[in-house]
């Protein structure tokens, strides 16, 4: 697994860390550790007990004893913290009316996106629904271009033309607004993976609400029939908009709903659980066994979207309890500190850097100009000669280029 980050690293520690991460996929060897001599008294890796997954139609389950290195831990911490701060900043900008329309925030669910990406490659593929900012980041988008897309500016990842729900980057197919439609799309990407024969797979995400869509069952059938290399992942955050899972589904065992497709139910608040389950699932797919289904039990702190306060269908006590007992970032932080894998100061330093990155991105996102009117009709057709597009009245003849 390789991470590519496209932001600046002002401190020596970070540039060293980055060099290590770029050049190794295993725990750093002695020579690399020496180059970060000032931190040599930390534990370089530790073994952790994680929750056992419930299984469906599987003889084996993901491991319950896993190893995490210090570098991995710091990496996961940084990325989850970046995602958290980015979403909170989006909340702020939305309340200032600088972000408009739909804005579905991911805070609380960070361990899912980070854990998944930790066990796949950037050459694999991923598609999700509209709660997509976190995935856009883990798939290679920068905070800057994500935020600028939210504010609808020309520096946005989709040049301001897509918005919150329509962000794309290499091997990341959005960002999809129609609930459930992304699931057949994801199986189609997997079909292309199988067709090309490059041993790539597709991670295809949907929520507990979408899990009741008919097209998902059509997709289960075809994916299983044709043994497509797709990992279906249901991010069960207990509520489909304002409807709790008990009120929406006759069976809330989402990991079993694939019936003939093997399934896992995973603690989605623990990044190591998600990582291990994804590793297990990816092995299953890559060995040609066909699709597999993972249910990640997770939680969103915000309401369904920014127009939903999120407290009419659940209690503040419930939200507070999850925050205090199961927050994914806190869980990781506790693990790092109690196993002497990092210091409080080190983590605080990361927090400061993350905060700065978010501030800089927000600054860009609020000052970058909107796309020019000349861009209005562009990107209708790919690889076509320019066409004329009718404007709002017969005399408005607008131009569209590919």
């Amino acid at each position: 697994m390789k991470w590519r980050r496209r932001h600046h690293h002002p401190s020596l520690f970070l540039s060293t860390l980055n060099r290590i991460l770029k050049t190794t996929t295993e725990p750093p060897d002695a020579a690399a550790v020496i180059s970060v001599r000032s931190y040599a008294d930390f534990t370089t890796q530790a073994t952790f007990e994680i929750k056992k997954c419930d299984v469906h139609k599987l003889d084996e389950a993901p491991a319950t004893e896993v190893v995490m290195t210090r570098d991995e831990g710091l990496q996961y911490y940084r990325i989850m913290q970046t995602m958290r701060r980015m979403e909170l900043k989006a909340d702020q900008l939305y309340k200032q009316k600088i972000i408009r329309g739909f804005c579905h925030l991911y805070d609380g669910q960070e361990a899912c996106a980070v854990g998944i990406e930790a066990s796949i490659n950037l050459t694999d593929h991923l598609i999700t629904a509209y709660r997509a900012h976190g995935y856009t980041y883990t798939r290679g988008g920068t905070v800057k271009e994500i935020m600028a897309e939210l504010t609808g500016r020309r520096g946005g990842i989709a040049k301001g033309k897509g918005g919150s729900m329509h962000m794309y980057c290499k091997h990341f197919y959005g960002g999809n607004g129609i609930v459930g439609a992304q699931v057949p799309l994801g199986a189609g990407v997997a079909l292309a993976c199988k067709y090309h024969g490059k041993n790539e797979l597709c991670v295809c995400l949907y929520g507990d609400g979408a899990a009741n869509q008919g097209q998902i069952f059509e997709t289960y059938n075809m994916a299983a029939l044709w043994k497509l290399p797709v990992i279906f992942i249901c991010e069960n955050n207990r509520y489909g908009m304002g409807t709790s899972v008990e009120r929406a589904a006759a069976s809330t065992d989402y990991f079993k709903r694939g019936e003939f497709i093997p399934g896992l139910r995973v603690d989605g608040m623990d990044v190591l659980c998600v990582r291990e389950a994804t590793r297990f699932a990816a092995d299953h797919c890559r060995s040609g066994k066909g699709p597999i289904l993972m249910e990640l039990q997770t939680y969103r702190y915000h309401g369904h979207s920014m127009s939903d306060p999120g407290v009419s269908y659940r209690t503040r006590e419930e939200i507070q309890e999850v925050r205090s007992k199961s927050d994914p970032i806190s869980l990781l932080k506790d693990r790092l500190l109690s196993n002497n894998m990092a210091s409080v100061e080190e983590l605080k330093e990361i927090d400061v850097e993350v905060r700065k990155e978010i501030e800089d991105a927000a600054q860009f996102a609020t000052t970058d100009p909107e796309p020019p009117l000349e861009d209005l009709c562009n990107h209708l057709y790919h690889n076509d000669s320019p066409v004329e597009v009718r404007g709002t009245n017969p005399w408005a003849k607008l131009k569209s280029v590919s």
Partner: protein, 360 residues
């Protein structure tokens, strides 16, 4: 092409042709008779051979040779990887086709008829048509959705709808509606080679109809450009614009009217979106009269769009009378033969409308 034109005019002088029989040659210049079905088959065969990313999926397309035998022989030749039978899951398999296009393949997604595409219409519009725009050019969707569209014979209301207007309403899609074999082959090849989502509206009643195809159109590189209409028959007195099966009806009507000294210019739209309005305008500026002919319902239809576009453009000032639309009757399609026949434009309806428009 000139040879086909001559052949139609020749046969028109003899008798009024029943809709459906077309183009039998007396003598044979350098051409060959090919049915629309075979033309479509050739197009797919050639494109499957040319580009290994192209594949066909749909219900019964592989081992059954196609519900209407359009994909006959392709599974035998190319195998399971390139020609895929799907379960009856339109929304699911259309989405899978779109996803595969996003990831670099070039799918041909067949709907057994376009009536069933309604189950999958969200994937066609929201996943395929709009994605290139929403992604500001990052994500293209090179897919063809094809299948029979419009009325067949005796299949009743749920199986007879024309979707030209619905799909052509949406930016981001291209919508193509071939009439004869040359259209079918050339346009399907163009559609498959196009990097954008194309809705390819065939017609079941045309599948078995043979047309003469020129030597040029037998070439593996022969394509017909999307977005360009064709003048099937030149004339000076009135313009008839149509698409798909009703182009044949227009030519039949033109043959009858020619005997009365009325020379119709018959335009075959070939593409509904983007529509070649310039060709219609040029013709209207010559003939001063316009009749549109389609199988679909009148409200918000192809003819309605042509009327609006003519009014907004230079040709309006050349009209000597308002545009006339000849359309399907504004009802769900009935089953009984006489009722069905009277639900769609007949040659006599076109002749009547031409004379009314010309005030003769």
């Amino acid at each position: 092409m000139a040879t086909s034109l001559r052949c139609f005019l020749r046969s028109g002088k003899k008798a009024v042709l029943v809709a459906g029989r077309r183009g039998f040659q007396r003598s044979a210049p350098a051409g060959v008779q090919v049915t629309v079905r075979d033309a479509l088959n050739q197009a797919m065969d050639e494109e499957l051979e040319r580009d290994e990313r192209v594949f066909l999926m749909g219900e019964e397309v592989a081992q059954y040779d196609g519900a209407y035998k359009v994909s006959r022989g392709l599974w035998k030749k190319y195998g399971d990887k390139r020609v895929i039978d799907t379960p009856i899951s339109e929304m699911g398999f259309a989405g899978i086709a779109v996803g595969s296009a996003m990831a670099g393949l070039r799918p041909i997604c067949e709907f057994m008829t376009f009536n069933f595409s309604m189950q999958a219409i969200d994937q066609v519009i929201n996943s395929a048509a709009k994605t290139y725009y929403m992604s500001a050019g990052l994500q293209a969707v090179p897919i063809v959705f094809r299948g029979p569209n419009g009325a067949s014979a005796g299949v009743a209301a749920q199986h007879s709808q024309c979707f030209a207007a619905w799909y052509a309403h949406c930016p981001g899609l291209k919508v193509v509606s071939p009439w004869n074999s040359e259209d079918a082959k050339g346009l399907l090849k163009s559609a498959i080679r196009d990097d954008n989502p194309v809705v390819f509206l065939e017609n079941e009643l045309m599948y078995g109809v043979p047309f003469e195809m020129t030597e040029e159109s037998q070439s593996k590189d022969f394509t017909v450009p999307i977005g360009k209409a064709k003048i099937e028959r030149p004339g000076n007195h009135i313009t008839l614009v149509s698409h798909s099966r009703f182009v044949g009806h227009c030519l039949d009507a033109a043959a009858v009217l020619a005997k009365e000294g009325i020379e119709c210019e018959v335009i075959n739209l070939r593409t509904i979106r983007p529509m070649d309005v310039e060709s219609i305008e040029a013709s209207v500026m010559k003939t001063n009269h316009l009749v549109t002919v389609e199988g679909g319902w009148p409200q918000f239809g192809v003819g309605a769009e042509i009327c609006a576009r003519i009014m907004e453009g230079p040709a309006f000032n050349y009209l000597d009378s308002p545009v006339t639309r000849v359309t399907g009757v504004d009802i769900p399609m009935p089953y009984a033969k006489t009722l069905e026949e009277n639900s769609l434009p007949q040659v006599k309806d076109i002749i009547f409308s031409v004379k009314k428009t010309l005030n003769v």
